[in-house]
């Protein structure tokens, strides 16, 4: 799918804010700027503090809305969670290079950890549902999985506390050998494991990386990640990378 060019929009209107779990929310905003699966926006809903906007991946998109699925992690996401319908946000985006959807064919596994499930819904919508398996890991109560079931996608869940699905990490219920393509998003250690399993099985894997960002557009170089091609910008060269090219530290 073609990555779209970004715009800066001040005062985009919040259409809805849903609380999915104790600390996971879905924010839907009125904007026609769209986004390809895997692209993201820099989002802010405050004047001065904190200084920087927050990078949030596109969770769902249609002609005149964009939704973000996010977890409250700190001051910025706390403020986002306080937004109600009618509230205003500033958006910069859509940004970055998303998933290489043209390469996604055959049997596809979407392997996610926690809030890493966020960018996968708009990706799954572009794929033939019968070819896709979502393998989603959570610390505890799962979220945002029912919508994949609605698409007709096979969903498997692992939880660390065993409250739902298989107890343990999602990587324990992921066998790369039965897939032709893998995409992953989640904590770095989990993606490193997925990348390792895929490399062993000889299955291509696309990984969507997360990083602290300042500009979000490729100018400041604070979100760089080590790759076999040298340092790459998560925001502008990614956030989606060929997992075999990332130098995984975890």
């Amino acid at each position: 799918m073609t990555n779209l060019s970004p715009a800066y929009i001040e005062g985009a209107t919040v259409l809805s804010q849903e609380r999915l779990t104790e600390d996971v929310y879905r924010l839907t905003v009125a904007t026609t700027t769209g986004g390809a699966p895997g692209q993201f926006y820099m989002v802010r809903a405050w004047e001065r503090e904190p200084l920087l906007a927050r990078p949030l991946s596109v969770h769902s998109v249609d002609e005149d809305t964009v939704s973000f699925l996010y977890q409250v992690r700190g001051r910025g996401t706390e403020l986002l969670a306080r937004l109600d319908e009618g509230g205003k946000v500033a958006l910069t985006g859509p940004l970055g290079h998303g998933f290489h959807t043209e390469e996604l064919c055959g049997r596809i596994a979407i392997v996610t950890g926690g809030i890493g499930i966020a960018p996968m819904f708009c990706l799954a919508r572009t794929l033939p549902a019968g070819d896709v398996t979502v393998i989603a890991g959570f610390k505890s109560t799962p979220y945002a999985v029912a919508q994949f079931v609605d698409l007709g996608v096979d969903v498997r869940v692992a939880t660390e506390d065993g409250c739902d699905g298989t107890r343990g990490f999602c990587t324990a219920i992921f066998d790369p050998h039965i897939y032709d393509m893998v995409v992953t998003c989640g904590p770095m250690s989990m993606m490193a494991r997925v990348a390792h399993l895929c490399a062993e099985a000889g299955v291509p894997c696309q990984a969507s990386l997360e990083a602290h960002m300042a500009c979000g557009v490729g100018a400041c170089l604070v979100c760089s990640c080590a790759t076999v091609l040298g340092n790459q910008r998560v925001c502008a060269d990614g956030p989606v990378f060929d997992a075999a090219e990332v130098v995984w530290h975890a």
Binding site: S5, L51, H212, A214, G218, L221
Partner: protein, 306 residues
């Protein structure tokens, strides 16, 4: 009203994108006509490519941010071949920011940039707090700063602006030393050497331990330094440090800055520099000023310097 002369170079206005916050201009061209800016300072360049620092590179603070990029850049030859031709199409003054690991690198780097067509001003970075050997090593002691300025001066055919560190032992003495060594202008301040600790790991947040603090939190200190330096030197001063609004920019101009550079604020709002240009224009119109230069240094130096 906003046309500004800096070291003999005519700028459309006194608002310049600060080095390291604007890449080579291409990224922000997606959001606005960067040709409306007074100028763009390139990402800090070194003779040889640098991968920059490992580990976390950014940390937010109240009213500011810390960075530890460590001069990641493609090297001057690649800049000249790949980035400069694109920058020249942007329609604004080009200021090449150059750092170095040692005197020889500075001299060779400046020489290459000086011979390149399309570069208007060379900004000598002696103030990067995030690289051990180069950069700030020359920005702490006056003697070291003077030696690097004196070394590059003979090979620099273009205006030479020296970017000063607020971490200098005495920033006024530093500015005077640079002026005497042949600088055509000074720009100040670069980021403040700062520290953040992760209380859970009981370790510094940054691999490099310290990092550079920028943003609105440094503005009053930067403004004081600009005022002190502008009061003490005869060359133009370019003000930098937490400028986020046209009122901030005007404060620096009133304190003695011929032009200003905007950095972190662009991360907050990609088009903020246009707001600053428009705001300064409105101010001149409202105050019936024929030129923004009429309020430059209007604060004067009546207050005795310490």
């Amino acid at each position: 009203m906003l046309e500004t002369t800096l070291c003999g170079i005519t700028l459309k206005n006194p608002v310049i994108a600060a080095s390291g916050t604007f890449g080579f201009g291409a990224e922000y061209s997606q959001f606005f006509d960067v040709g409306r800016l007074g100028g763009i300072c390139s990402k800090g360049l070194t003779l040889h490519p640098r991968e920059g620092n490992p580990g976390l590179r950014v940390w937010e603070t109240p009213a500011g941010m810390m960075n530890s990029v460590g001069l990641q850049n493609p090297g001057i030859p690649v800049f000249l071949e790949r980035e400069l031709p694109r920058m020249r199409t942007l329609g604004t003054a080009i200021i090449a920011n150059v750092g170095g690991d040692d005197l020889e690198d500075y001299v060779e780097g400046v020489q290459l940039l000086s011979n390149a067509e399309g570069i208007d001003i060379i900004e000598l970075n002696i103030s990067c707090p995030n690289v051990r050997e180069g950069g700030m090593a020359f920005g702490i002691k006056c003697d070291a700063a003077a030696s690097v300025v004196a070394a590059v001066r003979p090979v620099c055919a273009k205006p030479l602006m020296v970017k000063l560190s607020p971490n200098a032992e005495d920033i006024v003495a530093m500015a005077i030393a640079c002026e005497r060594a042949g600088a055509d202008a000074v720009s100040l301040v670069n980021s403040f050497k700062a520290l953040a600790i992760d209380i859970h790991t009981r370790k510094p947040v940054f691999d490099n331990v310290t990092a550079g603090l920028s943003g609105p939190c440094i503005k009053p200190i930067a403004l004081r330094m600009v005022w002190e330096v502008a009061s003490a030197v005869h060359i133009p001063v370019v003000g930098i440090g937490g400028i986020a609004t046209w009122q901030d920019a005007l404060e620096f101009i009133m304190a003695g800055a011929t032009a200003v550079q905007v950095g972190s604020a662009t991360f907050v709002k990609p088009t903020v520099m246009l707001d600053i240009v428009d705001g300064l224009e409105r101010y001149c119109a409202d105050e019936h000023l024929t030129s923004i230069a009429t309020v430059c240094s209007i604060l004067g130096t009546e207050t005795p310097l310490p």
